[in-house]
Amino acid sequence: MSLIPWRRKHEQSDVLPGRAVGALRSEFDRLFERFFGDFETAFPELSAGGAWMPSLEVSEAGNDLIVKAELPGVDARNVEVTVSGSILTISGEKRDELERRDGVTYVSERHFGRFQRSIELPAAVDADKVTAENANGVLTIRFPRTATSRPNRVKVLPGK
């Protein structure tokens, strides 16, 4: 949200008081619309509409771009990683088949079900040499950085 510049000059009439308030109000309207209307895409990691979104971490180390996703309870067979141009998509399902069969649930803080998240990769990466590994509930996707933009399906290897 951009701040309204505070102007001392009164001879400049491009920021009349009414217009400044109007601009502020439309900023607020946009923010509220984003918060209440488009919540799932504006704040993907907080989406509560039944679906859940894994939390991500994107970092650069050495010559690699590394994307990590917290996916507890998801093994390599249940996650799919796709790279298309500069968009990385992580999708899959966290299953809970055995856990709810019989019994009374007292505390339920964990999320289940299908998930999908796409992010734009911030740097040009070589999609052919990308690797993905899932270990201990963390999916680590590693890209060496160069310029290429062909779609590529990545095979996820189970971790140790």
């Binding site: 990691e45 939390s55 991500l56 971490e57 994107v58 970092s59 650069e60 180390a61 050495g62 917290e70 996916l71 507890p72 309870g73 998801v74 093994d75 856990e99 709810r100 019989d102 019994g103 009374v104 649930t105 007292y106 505390v107 339920s108 803080e109 964990r110 999320h111 992010i119 911030p122 899932n134 201990n136 509930g137 963390v138």
Partner: protein, 133 residues
């Protein structure tokens, strides 16, 4: 199944006031607790913890789960987006006498710790014979 007995079993988790000797943050893992006829099952999400770094203690009716995470090597790493922090996991629960402490077992796979807390024999559902005249 007696729900009245069961509601006393696990009170709200206690606050995280673990002593820390390292500077990493400590997080409370998300858990699910399910009671079935013969046991209480606790599922805790602790992604990023290796199996050998999971610690479970049960003492005086308090169950403590801990997942130690190695310190990150941050030199030379530039973070572009961080939606989760990295640190140890710690959570404690008060567990009633319904649980047979000697029979607690745990599995850990894919970042999820599953604790099986069997109930003592008297707490399991028993069929009571009705004697008629």
């Amino acid at each position: 199944m007696s729900t009245e007995m069961a509601t006393n079993c696990c009170t709200q988790p206690t606050e995280v006031n673990a002593e820390r000797t390292r500077s990493t943050a400590t997080y409370s893992p998300a858990v699910d607790i399910v009671e079935s006829a013969n046991e209480l099952t606790v599922y805790a999400d602790m992604p990023g913890v290796r199996p050998e770094d999971v610690e479970i203690q049960f003492e005086n009716g308090t169950l403590t789960i801990r997942g130690n995470v190695a310190d990150r090597q941050d030199e030379g790493t530039r973070f572009l987006r961080r939606e989760y922090g990295v640190g140890d996991y710690y959570r404690t629960f008060q567990v009633s006498e319904v649980v047979d402490a000697g029979g607690i077992s745990a599995d850990y796979a894919d970042g999820v710790l599953t604790l099986h807390l069997p109930k003592v024999a008297q707490a399991r559902p028993r069929r009571i014979e009705v004697k008629g005249k």
